[in-house]
Amino acid sequence: MKDIKVNVKDLSVFYGTNMALNKISMEIPEKKVTAFIGPSGCGKSTFLRTLNRMNDLIDNVRIEGEVWMDDIDIYHKDVDVVNLRKKVGMIFQKSNPFAKSIYENIAYGPKINGISQKQKLDEIVELSLKQAAIWDEVKDRLHDSALGLSGGQQQRICIARTLAVNPDIILMDEPASALDPISTAHVEALIHELKKYYTIIIVTHNMQQAARTSDLTAFFYLGELVEMDKTRTIFTNPAKKQTEDYISGRFG
């Protein structure tokens, strides 16, 4: 019996009067990779961002429903959003390292959390970079600017940076869409390793990627959750016709 890490109940998101998500309900299991697929603009990124309340940053947004993680509804009014984001990390579509050294990028999170001893920070930096499978490539230039790295390397730095704060859940918003195939392969291999320890939720418009990397897949269309099941089932024997049409490329 898998543990459920995230339990979403009737979540709706409005931008002004515009409904972006319509009563989404789902259960996301722990330490598995769940993928969200669907055509552009169908709400999958919006939904992803509700899980770490990044949507709060938008001016005109209204959220209804509940998102339960570890026995609390993260939209409860007493929840501390800043702490939530330490627990739920995010990797963005376009890699966004800070204009600082590689070391400083990774150390940023722990420093914010109050860790200041150099030795401890060194440990965390090394461990995170190893987990992100990029330690060997950068260990001799930790104090060079992170912006000098290639796109694929930068994205792995961003992953290491997120790992450094020790989250439970990692959200990935099209993490490889801006990368070349080799870097993409690196990232996918990384996801496969990381899922042993973290719950991973990934948004992708690349169906093959979803099929390769995820355990569960959720198909979104026009702000609604159409179907969610084991990945193999979705891709070989979906229950809904809409899902099948999308998978087989009849629309997109």
């Binding site: 770490n52 984001r85 990390g89 963005f92 800070f98 704060v165």
Partner: protein, 297 residues
Amino acid sequence: MKRTTKDIVVKSLTGMSVLLILFVIVAILTVTFIGGWSHLSWEFLTEFPKEGMTKGGIFPAVVGTAVMTLIMTLVAVPFGAITAIYLAEYASERSILAKTIRFAVKTLAVVPSIIFGLFGLGFFIKFVGFNADKLLFAGELHWGQPNILWASLTMALLTLPIVIVSVEESIRTVPREVREASLALGATKWQTIRQVVLPGSITGILTGTILAISRGAGEVAPILFTGAAYYLAELPTSLSDQFMSLGYHIYIMSTQSTNVDETLPIQFATTLVLLLLTFSLSLVAVVLRYRIRKKVK
């Protein structure tokens, strides 16, 4: 594409307008240079005026301008930078408060400089200074008159919008994704501003400071009756003293000097000093701003 005569004429006409403007810039620089270069020397900058302003140097004016500008900068830059942070990071574009603040900043930017002088007189001197004298000196006139402090504060108000605009522009060049990355790691808003946004906008703060200094050093109208003086025997020693200033010196000397033959070279040389100062500051600011804008592309 066939180019008709009309096309050529129009292109030339508009191009000539550009050349005309550039020509004027060069003309002013050249004329001032020719008139003043020969009189310029290290002594000129470091000596006091002598023999009724017909000989000697402009040292007190240089010092006065420098000190006034320094005080002005110390006040205007922090206030301006903080306001810029508000506008870029905390202001919701729809809130009335934010819109009012923006409008207030724009208003300050277009108010004629002489009005700042009137404000300096009516508020700093006649209200703050006057009441301070009542409290501290039992009514005896000490702060309630023109001095370098009031002139500097007046000038700070004038240059405030300049700082705000520059710093805000620079803050906005920090990409949204980088802010989001910081917040997604569990940093607070202020932590993000302090550790990610501000380090990325140092250039803009610098540009704003330089532009403010350039403007502050050159403006004369606000200090006409808030603290500038034409001839002082000594350098100002306290904030309640008056001061000499390059711009004011040029104005008085060129319009009310009695001995034209002797003072003309001094007038040109002083103008040259002021022009070189403000011009080089503007040049540095332009280059910096260019670099900021390039970052975005």
